[in-house]
């Protein structure tokens, strides 16, 4: 079982998921495997994944063909769903048992499908699946936060090329999420306003870093973007939790998401990218778990972060937590904001 350990200097939890018997020679670089034969995520190969946790189906019983979106446990989970959450110390050091959930959301039965060219209805089903799994895992008292993310291509950390996202439920609120929550709470405490709403209002008025906008969402090129062509997608109306979207909002998010991924494909020659969903954590006051975040973070404003993997982290970034971005966010907004292709919803 894996173990959670806290860095005592910077208060950062790390998952130590040591696979048994792994040796230094196991870290030789492996080539990408784009082959589709034998892909465990393809329709017909359901027996090669752990059992189905959830699916949206046209037909058939669980673990058989006939699905459109399918969720299974990760075969090599970073955290384990079984077991009690136990905390212990070693002198000044803190650790927890590696309890959590690690699921894979298989986005299509077809290996060669790609998010930007799916039908909008299909993307809405994927987003609804993110919400369904998040809500279900929030019922587990051991977990404090759930993160949904998508790694596209091997350079971004994907080990299989079949379209999929992942979800990890954690027994703690991670460092970066806590920083964002703290910042929103502090701003609200002083001003009784949402810091994200304030920033969105300014960005919409300046219009220098707005890439795309529809009825419910806006895509921004962040003012202090860490990476070239990184974007953030925000709901225009204040909302702390993405699971509360209605169907019109889900359609609008699918539209925005497909817009930017299609723009990446065209403008940046189909780059690897990472996407992460930043939403309020599930922490409600619970017996035995009182903490600072014992209230719902209504002051947070959920959003998606996406960035292509074009630059490399190097010593400067690792040593400072500061970044060097070689493309101005205004130039990035201009490139990504240009409508470069009329039809986005054609099947490949």
């Amino acid at each position: 079982m894996s173990e959670l350990r806290k860095d005592p200097i910077v208060d950062r939890w790390v998952i130590i998921a040591a696979e048994r018997g792994q040796r230094p020679s196991d870290f030789k670089t492996k080539p990408e495997q784009p082959r589709s034969e034998g892909c465990p995520f393809c329709e017909g190969n359901e027996a090669n994944t752990p059992p189905e946790i959830f699916a949206i189906r046209d037909s058939g019983p669980p673990n058989s063909p006939g699905w459109r979106v399918r969720v299974v446990a990760n075969k090599f989970p970073a955290l384990c769903i079984e077991g009690d959450l136990a905390r212990s110390g070693i002198g000044q050091l803190d650790r927890m048992t590696g309890v959590g959930a690690h699921e894979v959301i298989i986005e299509s039965p077809r290996h060669s499908d790609d998010l930007p060219s799916l039908s909008t209805e299909h993307v809405v089903e994927i987003l609804a699946t993110y919400a369904q799994r998040t809500c279900d895992l929030r019922r587990d008292d051991r977990f404090r936060h759930t993160i949904v993310f998508r790694n596209y291509k091997a350079e971004a950390g994907a080990s299989l090329s079949h379209p999929h996202s992942q979800l990890i439920a954690l027994p703690f609120i991670p460092k970066l999420v806590k920083e964002k929550l703290d910042s929103a709470r502090e701003h609200y405490r002083r001003k009784e306003r949402c810091i994200f709403c304030d920033l969105l209002e300014q960005e919409l008025a300046l219009a220098e870093r707005v890439i795309y906008r529809n009825d419910h969402f806006v895509i921004l090129s962040p003012f202090a973007a860490r990476f070239p062509f990184s974007v953030e997608i925000y709901p225009l109306a204040h909302a702390h939790d993405f699971v509360e979207m209605d169907s019109a909002q889900q359609c609008a998010l699918a539209d925005a998401l497909q817009y930017i991924l299609q723009q990446y494909k065209i403008t940046l020659s189909n780059p690897a990218y990472n996407m992460t969903l930043q939403t309020a954590p599930s922490t409600l006051p619970r017996a035995g778990h009182p903490d600072y975040w014992g209230t719902i973070a209504y002051d947070f404003h959920w959003h998606l972060e996406i960035f292509p993997r074009l630059t490399k982290m190097a010593g400067f970034e690792w040593g400072t937590g500061c970044y060097i971005n070689p493309v101005s966010p205004e130039d990035a907004a201009e490139y990504l904001g240009k409508q470069s292709q009329p039809a986005r919803n054609d099947q490949p």
Copy 2:
């Protein structure tokens, strides 16, 4: 000129160093260039770098052959040494002019040299050069912090394979450094002890994560290591600032550094790695710049961080600031602590 921008949510400064006219097509992946012909860092090619800022020489005037270690400005600097430090706001957003220093420490006149196989005396000269440049830049009132780092191989961000380190002086204390300083200060406030000294004492007593130790330094496999086989090198005696090392300590650090880099080479088949030097900032009380760090951080304990680039950052890490490490720090200590080669100081 580049610009510094602050992320308003997580208080992180980003360097926007937009090169003029850079377009999305410039971000196609470039192959590594291991060739030595025409390398601007090789002896004899001094005219192909910006003018020499500092050198340790056997003979010859500046910008001619005869040097052992040579420092020049980075030809493509992230920050610019000329200009005033000006702060301004755009509504709620903060920015500064991109003033700073970005230097390259060329570690040897020979292209094929490598840090672990240099003579110890030569490595001491490199370490002394880090200190000389740091002290010199601290005299500049515009700068608050100086970071020395080393990127080895293209996967770790090196654009030239000739052995070199880099140094960046910043007009702010970067986020990660500030977190470490805050943590040390808070511990000292409560206990009147150094948090790093406390942790070192415990690690030396447990002896589970000690990789190597000499008279003045210890190499640890960190308890909550983010990456497989990452290490930290600490002076055994409390010291807040690496520039205060005496020559015995410099020799001992050179020995420890060469030990671990040689172990990486053997155990992990010569991997790419990053090294960063974490030392107290230069901030002294200055007219016009009062701030929280207006005192010397005697409560800090300087150290080196080194890690091989074996795993990939993916959506989970980017979205949470949390990491998944597939090798237990105890296993890493065991692999890296084994003496696998008797002589380390033979020239190649």
